[in-house]
């Protein structure tokens, strides 16, 4: 499709979406009225700039179903991602949304070279997390044989990869590297596998990691991008040229803004990615601030696709960490510490990557309020912090108690996170 035709489709779909949220979502109607906007104010995609932004906080404030634009009887699926204060971000899909999702994942897999003859091993987690089921429906749509093995159980992953003849692997890039290591120790030779490509996402990864995965697994490693609020995986994905991720912009319209001034930035300038859903029915989002930093490029790709491309994500405009594919905000740690110790102690999160798996350590300064003379009391406090955090975030971590004033303060403000991973 040429850019002109695409723009017409986008404009028409935007008008429908704006109308839908204005009449069905009180939150959006109020926000639009405050800005003096009605559904008739938006004529084309060029008018999107006048619409208000949506943030993760807005989703949280309207927990769980407040921003849904259809009656719950129309919702056929609910997914959720981990939230900052114990409450997850909830996403509802209509039957139409599931069809859209399958369509964009089908494009993702096709761009990675997959077709009906492929065997797709889905080692993303199945469940509330959008990774597993998202890939699953797209894989079925292209007619491939889908192997819904889900995450974990590395020995079985390798065994079935061998026995079932998997040709495409879908998982996080760090798990792909972990599998590569495990494969070299398994006794199964690479030549005995039929694996040819992998679609990897849900966490940031570098070009170095890509090279490592490609060398060790001898496959083409394709980057895919998505976020559960918008739909899950399927927002954007690379083609075999591996030169930027094609955004499915007939469904998700991208803008790049300066996260501080909120001004729209031109092509090729690094800024925060903002997405507007153009076809979502269950949970349409207007100008959703992803907090992911990237750049857009509108030139046609060597593969021939005219869809706009985005760079691999280059960081975040907030303090969210992605650890083993799971989102973590320092504020989550803060609220757990407050709950357990009754105060807000100084703490530091240290993220690293060892043997291709993310590690998380939490250092907590021991203050007088919860210091105890007995080793066993301190040890059980330490364990309680660890267990509470592990169960509320789903991320395994190590907790270390440290002396007061040993965590570095910069300009009076504590530094909360040290990320030693190189992205």
């Amino acid at each position: 499709m040429d850019r002109e035709g695409l723009r017409k489709v986008q404009s028409e779909r935007l008008r429908e979406t704006v109308e839908r949220v204005y009449f069905n979502v009180p939150y959006y109607r109020n926000k639009m009225q405050e800005s003096g906007l009605g559904p008739e104010s938006i004529h084309s995609i060029d008018d999107l700039r006048y619409m208000p932004f949506t943030t993760k906080q807005d989703l949280r404030d309207n927990y769980p179903y407040g921003l849904f634009a259809v009656p719950m009887s129309e919702i056929v699926r609910i997914h959720a991602s981990s939230g900052t204060t114990g409450k997850p971000t909830v996403v509802g899909y209509t039957r139409g949304d599931i069809a859209t999702w399958s369509e964009v994942i089908a494009r993702t897999l096709t761009a990675a070279g997959a077709n009906r003859n492929d065997f797709i091993q889905i080692a993303y987690g199945y469940g509330l997390f959008t990774g597993g089921l998202g890939l699953h429906y797209g894989g079925e749509k292209i007619g491939a044989s889908v192997i819904p093995i889900s995450g974990g159980n590395t020995t079985r992953q390798i065994q079935l990869m061998h026995d079932f003849g998997s040709t495409i692997l879908a998982c996080t890039p760090s798990y792909a590297l972990f599998l590569a290591e495990a494969l070299s120790e398994s006794g199964i030779k690479r030549e005995e596998l039929r694996l040819k490509a992998g679609v990897f996402g849900a966490e940031p990864w570098t070009e170095n990691m890509r090279r490592e995965i490609e060398e060790k697994l001898k496959i083409k490693a394709i980057d895919i991008y998505g976020l559960s609020e918008v739909i899950g995986p399927g927002v954007a994905s690379e083609c075999l040229e591996q030169d930027g991720l094609h955004i499915n912009e007939d469904h998700f319209f991208p803008e790049i803004i300066d996260p501080n001034t909120l001004e729209i930035l031109p092509d090729g300038t690094k800024g925060e990615l903002v997405l507007t859903t153009l076809t979502k029915e269950g949970l349409p989002l207007i100008r959703y601030r992803t907090r992911d930093l990237t750049r857009l490029h509108h030139e046609t790709c060597k593969c021939g696709r005219t869809l706009v491309r985005m760079d691999k994500c280059l960081g975040r405009s907030d303090d969210m960490l992605i650890i083993r594919g799971v989102n973590l905000f320092p504020s989550q740690v803060e609220s757990v510490l407050l709950e357990i110790s009754g105060i807000k102690p100084h703490y530091l999160l240290i993220v690293d990557r060892q043997n291709n798996l993310d590690t998380l350590e939490l250092k907590v300064e021991v203050e007088e309020e919860f210091f105890h003379d007995k080793i066993s009391e301190l040890e059980s406090l330490r364990q309680k912090i660890q267990q509470t955090l592990e169960s509320s975030t789903g991320i395994g971590l190590k907790v270390t108690l440290v002396e007061p004033k040993t965590i570095e303060r910069s300009e009076g403000k504590a530094r909360r996170v040290i990320d030693k991973r190189k992205f």
């Binding site: 007088e368 003379d373 007995k374 040890e379 270390t400 108690l401 002396e403 007061p404």
Partner: protein
């Protein structure tokens, strides 16, 4: 005083204020297991000529608790706090017994017979006498029990004279 029960008439002469004096204020200081930290504490205390009567360290792989009995506990606490240490004052008791194992055992037996548990203990020896520091689940009950068996209890001023 709750929890303080006199077990026999012989002890009626012990009044509460006497028991209070037998309570000794011990400083407990949180330390990471890093070399030089103990030196840092002692240097801070030394800078104000604070005297140390007894000292013990309990530790795990990552952190430790330094327990120390000093001449001026309140002053020492403030001093350490000013130097960014986490410090608490913990109440312990101290007894004096001949430095043979059987006497230490007897002290502990008296307490366990009364269902008083010892959270931790440490000791040092001076001129064939053991000075034993005890942190009990109930220090006042422990004082009563030990007194009734004529175990010699030390006051803080006794300790500082050592």
């Amino acid at each position: 005083m709750p929890g303080y029960e006199l077990k026999n008439k012989q002890n009626l002469s012990i009044n509460i204020s006497k028991a209070d004096i037998m309570i000794i204020q011990q400083l407990s200081i949180f330390l990471e297991n890093k070399s030089g930290r103990l030196t840092d504490v002692l240097e801070v205390l030394g800078s104000e000529n604070i005297r140390i009567t007894a000292l013990s360290v309990a530790d795990t792989a990552e952190f430790g608790i330094l327990r120390v009995i000093v001449s001026e506990p309140e002053k020492a606490k403030e001093l350490l706090k000013k130097n960014a240490f986490t410090v608490n004052i913990t109440e312990v008791i101290s007894v004096c017994a001949p430095d043979e194992a059987k006497h230490y055992a007897k002290v502990l037996k008296i307490l366990s017979d009364r269902n008083i548990s010892v959270e931790y203990t440490y000791a040092f020896s001076v001129e064939e006498k053991s000075i034993i520091i005890l942190k009990c689940s109930n220090n006042l009950d422990a004082i009563g029990a030990l007194k009734s068996h004529e175990v010699e209890l030390l006051t803080s001023s006794d300790l500082y004279k050592i």
